[in-house]
């Protein structure tokens, strides 16, 4: 069962990232154009125009900072992860699900994720392995034995063995 279709997600987020850039460049150009017009065509007594420009510029700068530290970064991180996942080596292993976390603060590569704890046996010893889920998968149940395919510990797909 596929949890993440890396090809689709990579394309989706790359397109979204490009779209964000285009929107940003257009808004920036419009803002700078408007500001230039205000500076050039403001009256000789330009005090009011200057203060209005400062107020609107401050709002614009705050908007840009919010955009790049919030929505854009969310998209850029996912885009980067999926691009790497597309090219990188995937790990495949048989594990037993020990617990499925609900901790909302967990993140992987900066992307919010759900924590999965799994165990596997090697030379008669039990080892624990941490996996991450970017999307909730209700079908996964504790105690299930699965063959998990992951990249950077993020579960991409699995096959239920028992």
């Amino acid at each position: 069962m596929e949890v993440i279709d890396v090809k689709i997600e990579a394309k989706k987020y790359q397109t979204l990232q490009k779209r964000y850039w285009v929107v940003f460049v257009i808004v920036l150009a419009l803002f700078l154009g408007a500001l230039t017009l205000v500076v050039v065509y403001s009256p000789a007594n330009y005090g009011v125009a200057l203060w209005l420009s400062i107020i609107f510029s401050t709002l614009f700068i705050w908007g840009v900072l919010y955009f790049f530290s919030g929505p854009y970064q969310a998209v850029a991180k996912r885009s980067r992860f999926y691009s790497q996942a597309l090219q990188g080596l995937k790990s495949e292993e048989e594990v037993v699900l020990v617990s499925i976390g609900i901790d909302e603060g967990t993140s992987k590569e900066g992307i919010p994720a759900t924590l999965l704890t799994a165990s596997f046996q090697e030379n008669g010893k039990v080892y624990y392995r941490t996996l991450y889920l970017f999307f909730p998968v209700p079908a996964l149940k504790v105690g299930e034995r699965i063959r998990a395919t992951s990249f950077a510990s993020v579960l991409l797909s699995y096959e239920v063995l028992s």
Partner: protein, 207 residues
């Protein structure tokens, strides 16, 4: 969107100085841009070089600026130097020749330079148009008039309120490279004549 907000809240703890510093920096930049954009053009300002012991520049400039505000004069500046200073000649040639429109000089200062290098020669047409005095006294060199006497030695003038005159005859001259002397100088721009108007005003006893 929800995820973006989470990222924003997380990053705000580190980025908050940017929210203060960038607008502050941008405000200074904007203020500078506005001041540059509204700087008077070369045709809207004049500079007067005054050779004197002292000069009440602010009052002198304001007097002229208020008189020609409606004609579009936005800025009047002065460059002042005492003729007894060692650097007088350099200042006259570097500051005065390069950026002054009008010169207010004593006879001794004019005697020390070659007026033909920079001063506007007064043709008869020019004199009839812009010299107010009916019997003017000119500063003459090689039979060419270069300046009009506005304060004879020992006599009072309305300019005494602003200028600390030396005990000499003072002449008013124009820079031939000024862009504010209409078509009288090197440039043929008859509509820009604020230096000529100020030149006439300075002869008018401040009336």
């Amino acid at each position: 969107m929800k995820e973006g907000r989470k990222f924003f809240k997380k990053n705000l703890a580190y980025d908050w100085p940017l929210y203060l510093l960038l607008p502050l920096f941008f405000s200074f930049a904007l203020s500078y841009l506005f001041s540059i954009a509204h700087q008077p053009s070369i045709y809207e300002k004049i500079n007067i070089f005054v050779a004197s012991t002292s000069l009440k520049s602010e009052g002198f400039c304001k007097d002229i600026q208020n008189r020609f505000k409606d004609e579009g004069l936005k800025e009047v500046t002065t460059a002042q130097c005492n003729p007894s200073d060692k650097v007088f000649s350099e200042k006259l040639q570097v500051v005065g020749y390069e950026s002054s429109d009008i010169f207010l000089l004593p006879r001794s200062a004019l005697d020390g330079i070659v007026p033909g290098d920079i001063m506007l020669p007064f043709s008869s047409d020019f004199s009839s148009a812009y010299v107010i005095e009916k019997t003017p006294i000119y500063y003459v060199r090689d039979n060419v008039n270069f300046g009009i006497e506005i304060r004879p030695k020992g006599q009072a003038s309305w300019l005494d309120a602003y200028v600390g005159f030396l005990d000499e005859d003072y002449f008013l001259c124009l820079n031939s490279t000024s862009k504010n002397i209409g078509k009288s100088g090197l440039y043929d721009n008859p509509e820009y004549d604020l230096a000529l108007q100020s030149f006439m005003y300075l002869q008018e006893d401040g009336q």
